[in-house]
Amino acid sequence: MVTMTYREAVRDAMAQAMRADPDVFVMGEDIAEMGGSMGVTQGMLEEFGPERVRNTPISEMAIVGAGIGAAMQGMRPIVEIMYEDFTTLAMEQIVNQAAKHRYMSGGQLSVPLTIRTQGGAGWSPGAQHAQQVEAWFCHVPGLKVVYPSTPADARALLWSSIYDDNCVLFFEHRLLYPLKGEVPDELEPLELGSARVHREGEDVTVVAIGRLVHEALKAAEAAEAEGISVEVLDPRTLLPLDEDALVRSVRKTSRCVVAHEAVVRMGFGAEIAAVVQERAFDHLDAPVERVGAKFCPVPFAPVMEQWVVPHMEDVLAAIRRTVGRE
């Protein structure tokens, strides 16, 4: 095991793939000399040169679309969209093109494209740089959606995304970049679609993604001090979804909280709640509780922003609510 940050883990997956395979390359805005707006691609220009670490103009549609084209020709491009808020600009290419070419061609074509993006609130960037939009893409057959929460998962899942023959949306959370964690010495791929149980427990299952995994783990510890045993499960891949893992867990604990940073309404938690209530109906002792951002754009002023997005306390409160029910 070695220790690396989430940022380094993402970089390492790309660099290893690029070393092994000339068909892998990265493109995006300011990813070359500057190393990306979050420093994720730092040093890669020096190692791989400007043909494979490509700065692009501000053209989200064209760079995603160029990735689609190169992928159709058998390459494995990684496109970085600087903020996930800007996936809105490439929505057509992602939803109507990348997700559907294989299908519409009756299986003749594949689009092995990875779209990396990042976002999240907590540093007061304002309403157009802080949304979480992963839920949209889970509604689109043909796409895969990955959202890792630890360095080990980030590295393994990004590798697997690059080598997946479908278009994968790969979400990173800005506040997780400095997070350190252990990763195996050798990069081991991880199948897309398998959840991770971060912590076992008996009384409540907390299904959490991204930054909220860590808030959930803190909440679980606090709950334990109150005598509540919490299982924390991270689906990691939102599409396809490891339904079995989460249903298994909830059948055991009989209670479920789902937590993410996106707004609750129509967020990923809605899908989790819908699946759990359907497949673990007879086991549930309380409704699935949803934790997420309050229903507003992300405000600028830090006092408001902090209140809007969920934290450990919100997860803990939901855990208490759910065990408080009989």
């Binding site: 390359f25 043909e51 494979r52 692009t56 103009p57 053209s59 549609m61 064209a62 760079i63 995603v64 679309g65 160029a66 990735g67 689609i68 084209g69 190169a70 992928a71 159709m72 020709q73 058998g74 390459m75 491009p77 057509e92 290419q93 109507n96 093109q97 070419h101 294989r102 299908y103 519409m104 061609s105 009756g106 299986g107 003749q108 074509l109 594949s110 092995p112 057959p141 043909g142 895969k144 997946d164 023959d165 479908n166």
Partner: protein, 324 residues
């Protein structure tokens, strides 16, 4: 920048007759599509290329076997000109497993990857970025291939057009963007949708090489396309190939065309038919023409029979091909 191609009469008669046969095949195929739609055989949304056949033939004949093409909602002509068998195309329109997209695509989503057709697109401008990207792949790998996109005049208004051509020029990739300028986007005439009359000016914004050609003259299109392909293949960067043309029918099959006058249409049909132009130039004897007509009619009718005898997919096949 913009140079109008002069008609050159440099191709052999034999070659031109071959072009004429292809034009005629497309024409009769499209007419058959209209007929079968009216008869209630075909469902969905069909756009035929009557009047624009010469662009498809002139451009596709100028391609190498390894080049790739992205088409539009008006895709039948491109598919046929690329060498797709009429059977496969007609079967697709009938939603059969034997269709070029195995029934998953339909008229606006034709694929024939073996022949270079990497998708026609029902989203205006939707295929352009992937042509820039395909050309990028060719450049990165050092392959002498060209990626070609067809697009309409209406498509020059959409953001993907701007971004794709801009990126292609910036990176100097081997791409050719063929604009089929028929003066309409659905019902909307040029003056209502385009702030300029000379669409070659679009290329100026990117510093892209452009060539303008009479899209009703198949030989001129062929020569222009050859020059464009050579430019791109030689590493000189992308080309904007503007072919002015006429849509001699409605936007879609069934379009009552309330927005244009009968006279406008009649005049265009009488004076702007690329088949008639080539036929006249070749001074083709009636007998030879009849032979071509017969040959083509047999092919087209066979494609309908083939499609009618085709296999319907099983409903649950719908869940195949979603993921690789």
């Amino acid at each position: 920048m913009a140079k109008v191609e002069q008609k050159g009469h440099t191709l052999s008669r034999e070659r031109l007759v071959d072009f004429l046969r292809e034009l005629l095949l497309i024409r009769r195929f499209e007419e058959k599509v209209e007929e079968r739609f009216r008869a209630g055989d075909l469902s969905g949304f069909l756009h035929v290329s009557l009047g624009q056949e010469a662009i498809a033939v002139g451009v596709c004949r100028a391609l190498d076997g390894s080049d790739v093409v992205a088409s539009t909602h008006r895709a039948h002509a491109h598919a046929l000109a690329l060498g797709m068998h009429p059977n496969e195309l007609m079967a697709e329109l009938y939603g059969k497993v034997e269709g070029c997209s195995r029934g998953y695509g339909g008229s606006m989503h034709l694929y024939d990857v073996a022949r270079g057709l990497i998708g026609s697109n029902a989203v205006v401008g939707g295929g352009l970025p992937s042509i820039t990207g395909s050309a990028l792949a060719f450049k990165l790998r050092g392959e002498p291939r060209v990626a070609v996109a067809f697009l309409g005049d209406g498509a020059t208004n959409i953001g993907t057009f701007h971004e794709s051509l801009n990126l292609a020029q910036l990176w100097g990739v081997p791409a050719v963007f063929v604009c089929e300028n028929n003066g309409y986007a659905e019902s909307t005439p040029a003056w209502q949708q385009l702030p300029i009359t000379d669409l070659a000016k679009r290329a100026v914004a990117f510093g892209m090489h452009s060539i303008t050609v009479d899209g009703q003259d198949v030989e001129a299109v062929y020569h222009a396309a050859q020059r464009a392909m050579k430019h791109a293949r030689d590493g000189k960067g992308p080309v904007f190939l503007l072919a002015n043309t006429h849509r001699l029918t409605g936007h879609y099959v069934g379009d009552p065309q309330v927005y244009r006058s009968r006279e406008e249409l009649r005049e265009a049909r009488e004076t702007q038919d690329p088949l008639e132009k080539l036929r006249a130039r070749l001074e083709l004897p009636g007998e030879e023409w009849d032979e071509l007509e017969h040959e083509v009619a047999v092919l087209v009718q066979a494609s309908v029979d083939f499609a009618l005898n085709g296999t319907d997919p099983r409903p649950e096949d719908a869940l195949e091909n979603v993921y690789a």
